[in-house]
Amino acid sequence: MFDRYFSRVFESCSRWKRLIVGLAMILTSAAVIGLESISLENNLELMLPGDDQVRRGMRFLQESHFSDNVVISLEIRSSDRSPEDLIQAADQLERVLGQPLVTGVVTGISGTGMVDEVLSLLKHVPELVDEDTLSRVDSQLNAEGVNKSLRRNYRQLVTPASTFMTPFVRSDPLGISSGLLGSLQELSSSLGYEVELRDGHFISRDHAHAMLIVQTPVVVTDASRARELVDYLRRALGDLPDFISADLIAGHLHTISNEDVIKRDIWIALSIASVAFLLLFLLLFRDIRAALLFLLPVASVVVSINLSSIILPHLSYFIVGMGGVVAGIAVDYGIHVFMAVRTGDGQADAVKRVAKPVVIGALTTLSVFAAFFFSSVEGYHQLALFSILSIVLCLACALFLLPQLVSGPQPGKRKGAFGRVGVRASHDRSGLIIGCWVLAMIAAALSMRQLSFDSDITQFDGSERYVLEAEEKFHRVWGGEDQPAIFVVSGKTLEEALRSNQLVYTAAVAALGEGEFASLSAVWPTAEERAANSARWREFWKQGRESRLEALLREHGAAYGFSDDAFSPFFENLYVDPESPDGLERLEIFSKLKERFVQERPGGYQLLSFFRDEDRFVSEMTEISERHPGTFLVSRNSLSRAISRSVSSEIVYLSGIAALLIPMLARLLLGNIRLTALALVPVVTGVLAILGVIPALGLALNAPSVISAMVVVGLCIDYGIFMVHHCRYAPETGTQTAVTLSALTTLIGAGVLLFARHPILFSIGLTMVTGVMAGYVSSMLVVPSLYRRFVPERTRLR
């Protein structure tokens, strides 16, 4: 039935040859022009599993303001310059940076208003302290308690920093606010950077660096605007005095650098592959028409890029980077047809003889790519669509267009450059070949024991050295390398979020311990609670405690020389009512806390809390998150674990699909279990080689290499099918040469990726080269040897 339908279509194509060739040329030309208008994305999220936790974490980090700020670290390069020069440079930079790319520059913290601010905060203590604190205060309202407090205040006066302490001693003689201030200390610790203040500027501990935080509306993922921003900042930095150097620390630099690296890699890969393909075909066949073997897959890939960009909203650079690999795969079908036409007796008959294995080979490869549609990684869906389109187009061109174009006299017609080397070798030394193969497989299996899976998402970051070195230097100077994990609580209103946050805070303190969870709830109760606290405070002092405390302070203060009105600021503020319900929020200290701990999002608010990103804490907080709907946590560790978990389950899932589809299709063509098992030998060899070589090179398996391994499976089964088909039927269609050429072209397509700087492309290249090489060698040597030894005579058709 296959032959009948194929013949019909083939003959129709022969009749409409001119029209088909013309249409193909128009379509290809249009596709080449269309490449100009395609916009590609460099979004890491496309390559991540669809696991909710992973996507939510990544999206949170991308959308939060953390990643959009740019940090500039200035450094004095001359030993005869002082920190003052550094500060002047920081101020100069601050003055020149502005709209539209920069919305604000923070050079430090002004000392103006600080003391007033904290004294104002003390006025709000009534609404911020809870019932437990008042109970503690109550227990202090006696001679012993007050005496102890007075002694502590007296001690403050003998320290070298006493000048700064006096106003606070007067405003809070009992230390009621100490818990609140301690909590603020914890919140500040969550910043993680080591800065000193000098003249209101952020200065490093070595006094040789100044830090500026540049606020920008440019989002990290917007590559073109990011480029504008970085150029703008670099121009401004260029105007600084010669003795100042500057390092830029920004997510934007990663975006730009990744784009540069990938573009360069793609350009180099496609250039090398193109030249190599052309040279290979022209030198081997000495026939100018062999250039079609190169041009048809390239045209198919170009058309597929256009079609993919129409179907998909965001096309990733990585997918286009795989273009060379896909072309290397798709070229195989043309090679088989070309070889058949050159070595066969009649054009139509020769094509018909190879059509079936070619189509089945393409179907097995397609089935591997189709399996990617079952993945939750959007990038794999793109890869699947792009590859399937390329392969189908190339297959159609190989079967129906190529024979029309290479018909006519065959210059240098021959049996195939690689003759029957593999089959002959298998005749002579099949025992030795099988023995070596078994030993190699055992070695690979032993090496596999060292195999590890690298799930660190930073491995996908191909940023250039200068970006990473600037960051390393920044962390050496300013610290902050160990970024905390973030716990996120959501609510439709700020109050709703605060209520949930309070519950989480209580649970977190119980689970992690005091001081381990930096949460806004430690210092900022809900409005409802604040009102209740205020009422309780008034009630507390009006019940005679005010006069009792006054008397106790006067009586016992005299022993230390405290004056009668020493603590008058405390009593003056005892019943000061905050002017309005949002009085607290008007304090700069709380508006800044809000800036760091509260994020306004469409449809609600998110409250952020911070804790150490360590396994125990992440695990405890994960449990708490599960008990509180609407919350989630973001940590590098948990993201890494989630990716690892998700990728592992994907691998099992996709491998299962491929493991079912490939033997089924092989069985369909070969019609025999034993032959099917033989056809699977290159697959097993290729996969074991990958799993053995990667750890032997000191590398780890990662998501791109797993996906590449599946493509290797799709290719190796083709080699297996063709070689088993060849061993069984021995057709005069140059199968061995065709398989060799197929492997060579794939190796060229994938091999050029070994020159790639981007870690993902390199990983793909290494996996493909290792797997295809091993699969090819086993198909040429091991399959014929095993065929001779293990396939019964009755199965053979020669």
């Binding site: 913290i109 002004s110 000392g111 600080m114 904290v118 003998v158 003249d199």
Partner: protein, 218 residues
């Protein structure tokens, strides 16, 4: 109260844009004096001095008089030891602060990097004593009050941490200008602290036990 120091530090009150256009350079005559004093102090490696501190505070009926000893060794050792009216010792080594007092009889450890106000107060005292005057020009406006003996007035700039608390600081040198005789700090609220140094010894070996805060325990 360390938490308080940190809070003061942490509050990002406003973008530090104030006074960006001011002239940070001291007048040339002042700069000359500062450079001269710094030059004379440059050979100092260690300092030991007894001190008498009088604090005239609204908080207290009578001035509080402290007696003690101060030790300093470049680059980063500092000790403030109060003997009267309360035994208290504070030792700073790099970023680590240890303090002990006779009431609690406990050694409390804190970090200067986490207590910038504390650090500022100590740093200023160290700068005054070690003669690092030019580096203070960014934080203070400096004026020469007297030439013989040299008397300098430091007025905190608006962006400095000290601005809200301190009105001015007067530093009076010994006639040979090698070290300080007296520091007077006048606070915004009118409180006043006078720190007088006696028996100042420069570059004499300091007993290593001076850097052990536990000496107060003995």
């Amino acid at each position: 109260m360390c938490a308080l120091c940190l809070c003061l530090y942490w509050i990002p009150v406003s973008l530090a844009s104030a006074e960006n256009d001011r002239d940070r350079d001291a007048p040339s005559d002042v700069a000359e004096v500062l450079a001269r004093l710094e030059e004379r102090a440059s050979g100092m490696q260690t300092l030991k001095a007894d001190f008498l501190q009088e604090k005239h505070l609204a908080l207290l009926d009578q001035p509080l008089v402290l007696k003690g000893t101060i030790f300093m060794q470049k680059p980063d050792l500092f000790c403030w030891m109060v003997k009267e009216p309360l035994r208290y010792t504070l030792v700073i080594e790099g970023e680590d602060v240890r303090q002990w007092d006779e009431d609690t009889r406990r050694v409390e450890k804190i970090s200067l990097s986490k207590n910038p106000v504390f650090k500022t107060a100590i740093q200023q005292l160290k700068d005054w004593l070690s003669g690092a005057y030019t580096s203070m020009v960014g934080e203070y406006q400096v004026a020469v009050l007297e030439e013989a003996p040299i008397s300098l007035e430091f007025v905190p700039r608006k962006t400095s941490l000290a601005h809200e608390v301190i009105d001015r600081v007067t530093v009076i040198f010994e006639p040979d200008e090698r070290y300080i005789r007296r520091i007077q700090i006048v606070e915004k609220g009118g409180d006043r602290t006078v720190l007088t140094f006696v028996d100042t010894q420069l570059n004499t070996p300091i007993d290593p036990s001076a850097w052990k805060v536990e000496q107060g325990v003995r």
